[in-house]
Symmetry: C2
DNA sequence: GTCTATACACTGATAGAC
DNA sequence: GTCTATCAGTGTATAGAC
């Protein structure tokens, strides 16, 4: 079962892009890696950007959609802090996974100069994840696990430091610097966050 | 008093870069905007990257260094929440200022493919600002305004959502979408954050 | 020192033959 | 689908005029 030329192009492009950046991954290098001429690529993709849009679309996977599918807030949010811990564990798994790390780098680059990717980025990090998480906080409030607050705000406040950590992680990796010190920060964030919103003394 | 050619090059480059992105600002366009030949640019800058490094270095100003100079934590942190409000007001001023917005866009782009800018970025957003702010939190703790917590962690948790808002703001602007809804989120962040750490009932 | 002229290797992209 | 040939545009370099 031979891979299609189109898939070979995508693989080659992802590889080159991850190591040499967007502009470092020239059409000629991609073509030579696949074993065809540059112009042949244009039979499969409109242009260079189209290649990376497809990479992003294919790999910008539903890492957290999966989490919410397997941990539906309506049922599991009752776990309170434990639920957040599980979310962060899933988040860390993605953040530290080499393949997703590559992708995250590409997304960040492309976000700044490709409108379609930018829209994906905005929708993903500033809408969908927040919407899913805010539902969990809503249920926690209903069960008096946390104090009354706008669920949307809570989700934003919970996710922003995680995103920040992931960004820092990516940049440090690009510098080939250590990231072990970062690892514990994820859990410390949950502890701090929960401390600020939890209802410690039971009340009606 | 005529501007030097070097400054003209920097101005032209910043302008082109802000509207057409890094690769859209070609050496030929920059040169023609200044009124010289491409090759003349190389009398003033080693290469294209050197131009943008200089732009970033010059404009990546000490917007928040200024704040801490005018609002020394050792003296003013006693104001507690009011101090944070003032910081966020300064932060918003920078975030919504057109010139700094341009710069922020360039920095984000360059961070992903220029090591020097990346180092600047890491130092600025993940070290210096946090270090300065953590001192303020340290003093608030000493005055029993907030609960005991790692000042560094507090600074991180306080800054991350602000950075996140600024990023979202920048991306929305690139989409020519409205940002008025974002504006109030800055203040809501301070309210939420303070609620989570403040010592409400006075205690020794 | 500052500019012009010219050249080079490389880029993304297209047209047309097989 | 893939090729060859070719295009304009890019960053960069150097030699030489003023």
């Amino acid at each position: 079962m031979e891979k299609s030329t189109k898939d070979k192009i995508l693989d080659a492009a992802l590889d080159l892009m991850a190591t040499s950046g967007y502009s470092g991954a020239s059409m000629r290098k991609i073509a030579s890696k696949v074993g065809i001429r540059e112009s042949a690529i244009y039979n499969h993709f409109k242009n260079k950007e189209a290649i990376f849009e497809e990479i992003v679309r294919k790999l910008f996977v539903t890492a957290f959609d999966d989490f919410f599918k397997n941990h539906p807030p309506q049922i599991e949010a009752i776990k309170g802090k434990k639920y957040l811990k599980e979310f962060v564990a899933a988040y860390k798994l993605v953040a530290f996974d080499p393949k997703h790390e590559k992708l995250f780098r590409i997304i960040l680059i492309e976000t700044m100069h490709n409108q379609k990717v930018r829209k994906l980025f905005l929708d993903r990090f500033f809408s969908r994840d927040i919407k899913d998480l805010s539902m969990a906080f809503f249920f926690m409030m209903q069960h008096s696990l946390i104090r009354q607050e706008d669920p949307h705000l809570l989700a934003y406040e919970f996710l922003a430091p995680l995103f920040s950590l992931r960004l820092e992680l990516t940049l440090l990796r690009m510098e080939h610097e250590g990231t072990t010190a970062l690892s514990t920060k994820f859990e410390r964030h949950v502890d701090f966050f929960w401390e600020g919103i939890a209802i410690s003394s039971p009340q009606a």
